[in-house]
């Protein structure tokens, strides 16, 4: 069996290690993009919940977080008028219901983007697995050659 083994090329092993490192760096970027999208999605969901809650209360009183874990009771004067950042740094006033609709659309967009990023990440990971397998086989061949 040892006779049929190809001599391992150390340069090939090094190149494979570089590939693995590069793919790893790319994967890190995609993971952080996924995190950003998930944060955005959760934030939009929380905003929808708050907007719906605001309309449900009779007196329009809400808990307003002011940072550091502190909150105060605040009365929303016009719960049906929502200032909404729609994109391109433009803020428009929308009725509560429309704002919720807009946020739901945004959530769908973010979910679609998450799917695409996750697919790319899966492809990268499967390529990394392949490289890992080849590296492992290369190391084993090196060790076997060393024992002889």
């Amino acid at each position: 069996m040892a006779d049929t083994m190809q001599p391992i090329d150390q340069r090939e092993l090094m190149t494979l290690q570089h590939y693995l490192k590069e793919y790893g760096q790319q994967a890190e970027i995609f993971v952080s993009q996924l995190e950003m999208l998930e944060n955005g999605r959760m934030e939009a969901l929380a905003a929808i919940e708050a907007l719906e809650g605001m309309m449900a209360t009779e007196d329009g009183v809400v808990l307003l977080q002011i940072g550091g874990g502190a909150s105060v009771r605040a009365k929303v004067l016009e719960p049906d008028k929502v200032m909404l950042a729609i994109g391109a740094e433009v803020v428009v006033e929308r009725p509560n219901k429309d704002a919720i609709g807009f946020l739901k659309e945004r959530i769908m967009e973010m979910e679609a983007s998450q799917k695409k990023v996750a697919e790319t990440l899966d492809r990268l990971r499967s390529q990394m697995n392949e490289i890992n397998k080849r590296l492992e086989a290369g190391y084993q061949q090196s060790m076997a050659a060393g024992e002889e």
Partner: protein, 350 residues
């Protein structure tokens, strides 16, 4: 690519079309009331002899009323639809100035113009949108033509913020240019980021492209100067100069970039950012252009951007053309930005 924007533009286009259709069919409109639409025809009446007198016959009068009557779209007729289009563009992260330009152009084409009633409303609207988008997108930038018409080596310096895929883009463009028959050398000018020299080295090895490298932490100006010298002495067509990512607010890094520019004297400074950053990419490109200058822009990760805001706005906002868009992970996933093609894709029915 830009699927979200495409869907929204279709909705806005239908709305605009409906508004104009309402004008056509509304009683007391500038046409002849509720008369059915008749296709425009330039044919002469068969009963009319070529030598007929110029004064209009009854047949001709009817023809003028039914066929050649015209429609004038007023601003109020399309105000709501244009407002909806404006919001659609803003929601897709198209910069405010670019949005304003598109709306103004569409309005200019549609409002106050005399239109034959038989003309298809949809083609009228699509034509207006197409012209407006093309105006905002500019002419693109044909890198191959640029290289062919300039003294060699053509030196291209890549700049931009961190983590947008600059190094991979340099490799992709190297591969693209090689396939077009140009010889290429890459300068590993990102001597700052750990592993950047190795990364570009791996790309270059994989693509069979010569690379000039110095040890990590070295002076990027020196690396890129050596790269230009190598290209000149080996008659290489194009120098692709990679640099470390930086924000325009970092004064020391920007002065380093200034030094690189002085030393290697690039023919083109290309700003690289990611399409998914939307309006942020447009603002950053504007700031970079103001600080260090840029001749063209490349947007990466366009395949993951459903909104398309950056791609639509960047050329109009910073006044520099979009040269390439990155559309995936492999070396071939980069395409020259063709405005006409993008507009067709956005307004097409498929």
């Amino acid at each position: 690519m830009f699927g979200g924007l495409k869907a929204k533009l279709h909705a806005a286009r239908s709305r605009l079309g409906s508004s104009i259709q309402t004008v056509i069919t509304a009683p007391g409109s500038s046409g002849t009331g509720t008369a059915p639409q008749v296709p425009v025809s330039q044919k002469e009446s068969p009963n009319q002899s070529p030598s007929a007198p110029a004064s209009p016959s009854i047949v001709n009068k009817v023809k003028v009323l039914l066929i050649e009557r015209e429609l004038i779209v007023s601003e109020t007729d399309v105000a709501d639809a244009l407002s909806e289009l404006e919001l659609t563009l803003l929601e897709s992260d198209v910069a405010l100035t670019a949005t304003d330009a598109i709306i103004a152009h569409v309005k200019k084409i549609l409002v106050g113009k005399h239109r034959k009633i038989g003309e298809s409303v949809d083609s009228l609207v699509v034509g207006a949108l197409r012209a407006a988008l093309l105006e905002v997108l500019g002419n693109g930038f044909n890198l191959l033509d640029y290289i062919r018409t300039h003294p060699r080596p053509v030196k291209i310096l890549f700049t931009g913020v961190n983590g947008t895929g600059k190094t991979t883009t340099v490799a992709k463009i190297g591969s693209y240019l090689r396939k077009q028959g140009f010889s290429v050398v890459i300068g590993a000018g990102d001597t700052y980021r750990a592993g950047a020299i190795e990364q570009i080295g791996v790309h270059a090895e994989r693509l069979g492209i010569k690379i000039i490298q110095h040890p990590e932490g070295g002076d990027p100006s020196a690396v890129l100067f050596d790269t230009v010298q190598y290209a000149a002495s080996h008659k290489i067509d194009v120098v692709l100069a990679d640099t470390a990512g930086r924000f325009h607010t970092k004064a020391n890094l920007m002065s380093q970039l200034d030094k690189i520019k002085r030393v290697m004297k690039p023919d083109l400074v290309v700003y690289v950012d990611e399409a998914v950053a939307g309006n942020d990419a447009v603002i950053r490109a504007f700031e970079f252009d103001k600080t260090i200058g840029a001749d063209a822009v490349i947007l990466t990760k366009a395949d993951m951007d459903s909104r398309g805001g950056a791609a639509i706005s960047i050329a109009h906002t910073i006044g520099k053309p979009l040269m390439f868009i990155g559309t995936g992970q492999s070396y071939d996933d980069i395409a020259p930005f063709e405005p006409a093609q993008v507009v067709e894709e956005l307004l097409g029915d498929s």
